[in-house]
Amino acid sequence: MAENLSGLDTCDTFPKLLLHHARVRPEHPAIREKDLGIWQTWSWHRFADEVRSLACGLAAQDFKRGDHLAIVGDNRPRIYAAMCAAQCLGGIPVPLYQDAVAAEMAFPIQNAAITHAVAEDQEQVDKLLEILPQCPSLKRIYYDEPRGLRHYAQPQLMSCDELLEIGRESYRRDPAFLETEIAKGAGADTAAMFFTSGTTGVAKGVVLTHLSLIDRARAAAEMEGLNDADVVLAYLPPAWIGQNIFSYAQPFVTGYCICCPESPETVMSDMREIGPTYYFAPPRVLEALLTQVSIRMEDASALKRSLYRHFMEIARRVGGAILDGKSVGTADRLLYRLGDALVYGPLRNVLGMSRVRVAYTAGEAIGPDLFRFYRSIGINLKQLYGSTETCVFVCVQPNGQVKADTVGPAVKGVELSFTPERELLIRSPGLFKEYYKNPQATAESKDAQGWFHTGDAGYFDADGHLKIIDRVKDVGKLADGSLFAPKYLENKLKFFPYIKEAVAFGHGRDRVCAFINMDMEAVGNWAEKRSLPYAGYVDLASRDEVYDLVRDCIERVNADLAAEPEIAGSQIHRFLILHKELDADDGELTRTRKVRRLHVGEKYAELVAALYEGRPVVHVEAQVRYEDGRTGSISADLKIRDAKTFPPAAARKAA
C-alpha cells in the first residue's frame, strides 16, 4: 500500500491517476454495471483502455485542449470514461443533469460554446437535437445506447462504438500521442465544470481544477481510511458534484470500485447485491427507506412486531453510544448484541447496508430521529457540509463525534471564519477557480484574501463543530440584538410528525412567536386513536387537546434552544395553530413548498399583531382558492397560547 501511495502523490491530474491505477492494479475492478441481469466488471486496465480509445477518437474528431465536452446521462461506465477522455486531452467535461428539460441544457452549452457532447441514449439525444438551433456551436453528439437511433440522419450524430473504433485506429497510427497529451496536463488546469442548479438565479458554471478536486477527495479519503477495497454504488446524478466526488474523484484517488445500477428502479436491490462500504444519501432517500421499513414492519406477524419494537427501544437507548465507542453497561451491551443478531443485522441487510463503514448525508437538515435511527442500528451515518464551489468536503463529522444537529469540524486543510453578520467564510485548497465567464459573480463570492462567501449563516458549538442555521439573507435579529434564525426554528418544529409547516416571527421584535400548521394526517390519526371527535380541519386545529400536543412540541424545541447560548433568545413564547393549510395556490408557499415568510406575515398581519399584543383569541376571515379555481372564505376564532421558555443557564445544567 505504502509504495502505491508514494507513486500516487506525484499524480496531479485525473488521467495520470488513471494510468497509475492501470499500472499498479490492472486487474482490480474499477467500475461495474449490471447489464442483462449480470454484473459486468471493468478492471482499471480495461477502464484505461476505454478512456484511451475515446480520447484518441475525440482528438481525431477535432476536440482540442481547452474545449468543453458536455456529458448527459445516468451513471454508466462510458459516462465516466468520457469525462476522463476529455481530461486526457486537456479538455473540460461539463456533466449536465440527465433529467433536465432541453431548454435548461441550452444555457450551459451556449455559455461554454460547447462543440462536442456525449449523450447516454435516445432521450438525451432528442433533447440535444431540440436545442441544436439555439446552440450552433454544437457540432458532434456521441451516443452510448443506440436503441431507437438507427434511423436518425442528423450529421452531428455518431455512436460511441464508432468513436471508439476511430480512436483505436488513430492509436494504432500514433501510440505516443496520448501519453504526450496526458503529460502536458498540470494540476492547476481546469478539471471539470459543474453548473449550479440556479435556484437562486441564473445557473453559473463552477470551474474546478484537478488540484482542488484531488486535494479534497484525498483529504476525506485519508480521514475515513478509504482504500481500494471499498465499494460505492453510483446512483445519484453524475452532474451533481457529490456523486462526482464519490464516483470519480475518490475512486481515482484511492482505486476503489464504483457500481452503476441496472436502472433507476432497481437501486434498492442492486444495493443489496453489491453491499457498498461507502455510501451517500440525502435525507429524503433515508426517510423513504425508513418509511418502507416501517410499512413492512406493520405487515409483519405480531411476534416480529413486538421483537422489533422491543429491540429498537434498546437501540435507541444505547445504539448510538455503542457506535461512538462510549461506555455502556454490560447488560445493555449484551442486549444490544442479541438485538444485532435478531433485528439490526437483518435490517441492515435488507437496506443493503451490511457492509457500510462510512455513510454520509447532507444537502438539507436531517431530522434527529431519522438520523439516530440509522446510527442506532449500527450504521455509521455522518453529516458533512460542502458545496460545488468547495469540492464538497468542508466539514465532516469524525467517527465518535457525531451529533444530529451539527456538520462537524473543518476537514484538514480548511479554514473557517465568520463575518459579523455570521456568514460562513471558507478558505480551502478545494475552492473553485472561478465562475465561468462571470467575473462579477466570482468577485462577489470570493474576496481578495481568498475567502469564499457561502451565503450560509452559522456558528461553532461548544465542541467546535460547525452548525449551519439558515441562509444569511434570512437571518434576523431580535430587538435586543441577539440572533434570530427563523428557518432553523421552523426546521426543528417540522421534524415533529404533527407539525407540517411553521412560520416563525421575531426580526426586530422583543421575542419570537410562531404560526403552526398541523399535519392533518398525523394529527387526525392521533385524534382517532384517542377517540377525539372532530368535524374537520378547522375544528381539529382549534381543539385544546391539539394545542396541548403542539405546545409540547414547542416546549421541547425551546428546551433544545436553551442549551445553545448563541440562539437561546429565539425560544418561542406564543403560538397559534392556523385554520388552513398553507398552500402554494394561495401564494403562501413556493412551488417547491418553501414558506414565503414575508408574504405570510403580511397576509396575516392581524394574527401576527394579536400574537404580540397578548390577546388570547383572534378572529380571522380568509379567502381561500380551491383547486378548481373558485374562491371561498373560511372564518374562525383562533386561540393563542403561551409556551414555556427556559432560562439558558438552567437548561445547560440539565443537559
Binding site: 441481469g37 431507437g148 438507427r150 434511423h151 440522419a153 428502479e265 432497481t266
Partner: protein, 263 residues
C-alpha cells in the same frame, strides 16, 4: 418517414375474402387485406366489428368458413394456434393471459417454450445440453427485459404488478418467441396517458430494432394514427376502409361509422 417507407417490404401476410360465422351470426364477411413485412398495420372499428375475430382467424383459433390466408406465400388451412406460433406469428391478449403466480422472468421464459429442444427430463434436472440451452434462452429473455425496461420486476410475481406493467410482460412473452409477425390485441386498453406513450414507444422500437411486423387492434384513435403505417377499418364484420391514416381519416364511410359524424 421516407426512411420507414424504404424498409417496408413485400406482402408477408394476406387475408383473402375471409368469412366467419358462429351459427347465424356473421362475425366477418368477405374481408380482404394484406400486411407487408416490417410495417405497423392497425385494425380498427367499433365494438363488435370483428377485430378480435380477425386476429383469432390469423392466429388459428378460429377457422374461417370461406376465404384463405397466405403467410410467406403459403396458403394455410386449419392450422391450430400451436402451428401458427411455430411458423413465427406471436400474439398478446386483450384480457391478459399471463401466469399470475409466476415471476415476470418465468412468464417470459415460457415464451421460449417452443424453442426448447432438449427433452423434458434433462430440462427438469438442468444438466448437460439442457443447462446450456437454458443459458442461451435466458440471454434472449434478458435482452427483452432490458428492452422493455422491466429489470426491476424480474422476480416479482406477475399478479402483483400494476396493469400497465402486466401488459408489458405480455408483450415481452410474445417477443420471446422472436416472431416475424406480432399480433397485438388492444395493447393499450386500460392504460393511462403515460403508460400509453411508453407502450407506443415500445411497439415502434420493436418494429424498428427487430424488424418485427406488427398487426394491432386499438381503440385509441390518436395512438393508431400516430404509430401505424396503414389502417384497416371494420364495421359489422365488413371492411369499410383501408389505407394510410390520412386516407382513412378522410374516408367518409369511416368517419360516419366509427369516428362519428362531425359537426
Amino acid at each position: 418517414m421516407n426512411d420507414r417507407a424504404h424498409r417496408i417490404g413485400d406482402v408477408i401476410l394476406a387475408v383473402d375474402r375471409v368469412s366467419l360465422a358462429f351459427g347465424g351470426v356473421k362475425a366477418l364477411s368477405d374481408v380482404s387485406f394484406d400486411v407487408r413485412e416490417h410495417e405497423v398495420r392497425a385494425i380498427i372499428g367499433p365494438n363488435g366489428a370483428g377485430k378480435s375475430s380477425m386476429l383469432n382467424v390469423i392466429n388459428g383459433v378460429y377457422h374461417p368458413q370461406q376465404g384463405t390466408i397466405r403467410y410467406l406465400g403459403r396458403e394455410y388451412h386449419d392450422m391450430d394456434p400451436h402451428e401458427v406460433a411455430e411458423s413465427g406469428i406471436a400474439r398478446t391478449f386483450q384480457s391478459l393471459a399471463l401466469f399470475k403466480g409466476m415471476s415476470v422472468l418465468d412468464n417470459i421464459m415460457s415464451g421460449r417454450n417452443l424453442k426448447m429442444r432438449s427433452n423434458i427430463l434433462l430440462q427438469a434436472l438442468r444438466i448437460g445440453p439442457a443447462l446450456r440451452e437454458e443459458i442461451e434462452h435466458r440471454e434472449v429473455v434478458e435482452r427483452i427485459i432490458d428492452f422493455l425496461e422491466i429489470q426491476a420486476y424480474r422476480k416479482t410475481p406477475v399478479g402483483r404488478l400494476p396493469y400497465g406493467l402486466q401488459k408489458r410482460v405480455d408483450l415481452a412473452r410474445a417477443l420471446a418467441m422472436e416472431p416475424r409477425v406480432l399480433l397485438l390485441d388492444e395493447p393499450m386498453s386500460g392504460m393511462n396517458m403515460e403508460e400509453k406513450q411508453d407502450m407506443c414507444r415500445f411497439i415502434l422500437d420493436v418494429n424498428d430494432q427487430f424488424g418485427t411486423t406488427v398487426v394491432l387492434i386499438e381503440h385509441d384513435m390518436s395512438v393508431v394514427m400516430d404509430i401505424s403505417d396503414r389502417v384497416v377499418v371494420l364495421d359489422y364484420g365488413k371492411k369499410i376502409g383501408d389505407g394510410s391514416p390520412d386516407e382513412v381519416r378522410a374516408n367518409q364511410a369511416v368517419v360516419d361509422a366509427y369516428l362519428g359524424v362531425s359537426h
